[in-house]
């Protein structure tokens, strides 16, 4: 075992264009939202997001169009938080910027 502690920006630098990210938590619960917000400050593109029920932290990467594909069962924030606004922004409309692969 060795010390793996690092700063938020050092950890965010590990993420590169086109990577597939499995983002934890569920809906509004225990999702790594500040880590995702750190990624929104970087010029990343074509990220793929995976989760059974991706929530807020995943939504953030679609809100900036940095993620272009989601593999999921259910994508939403649930309860009062409702639908996932970033995912809808990227996936709805005549020319969607992101692809939904449900049931994968």
């Amino acid at each position: 075992m060795y010390d793996k502690t690092m700063s938020l920006s050092q950890a965010a630098d590990l993420i590169k264009d086109g990577m597939m990210l499995a983002i934890g938590g569920n809906g509004m619960h225990r999702t790594p939202s500040l880590f995702s917000l750190a990624l929104t400050k970087k010029p990343l593109q074509e990220l793929k997001v995976v989760g059974a029920a991706p929530g807020l932290a995943s939504d953030m990467l679609f809100s900036t169009f940095q993620a272009d594909t989601a593999y999921f069962g259910f994508f939403g924030l649930e309860n009062e938080a409702g639908l996932a606004p970033g995912m809808r922004k990227a996936m709805e409309g005549a020319e969607p910027k992101a692809k939904a692969i449900e049931g994968s």
């Binding site: 700063s7 590990l14 597939m20 499995a22 569920n26 509004m28 225990r30 750190a38 989760g51």
Partner: protein, 147 residues
Amino acid sequence: MWGSDLVAKRPEFFQVMKSPFDGTEVVCVKALVPDYAIVHVQEADIYGNCRILGPSYQDALLARAAKKTIVTTERIVGTYRMKEEPKLTAIPHFLVEAVVELPGGAKPGICYPEYQAVEWPKHKAYQKAVKEGQVPQYADSMLEGRL
């Protein structure tokens, strides 16, 4: 998977094959292999051993499916915490590449038992930022120089 329409609808993920053991038909599911799992936990040690308090959802599975895991944690704890109750280590150190101490890392969402309600004004600010294309600016206000 038998009885699910997904077998026919998603041939890129589901295929029916004969079992090499007894010849019965089985549904095979293609595995996704994420480059990183990214999880927020309540407790991690400096080596990446993680404890999740409350519901763990699929986080332990995500960490095992991915090539490596990045952990953000409410607090760094001594490894003695893992030794006290080894079974409560949801993610072991060898799956982990990075540990970031980041209190409030799930805000404006919830992280039981640290903060148990959504911070609605900050969430509404996020919804507004999405509409206006201002999420990186919203990130500045939430990160408060922690990058």
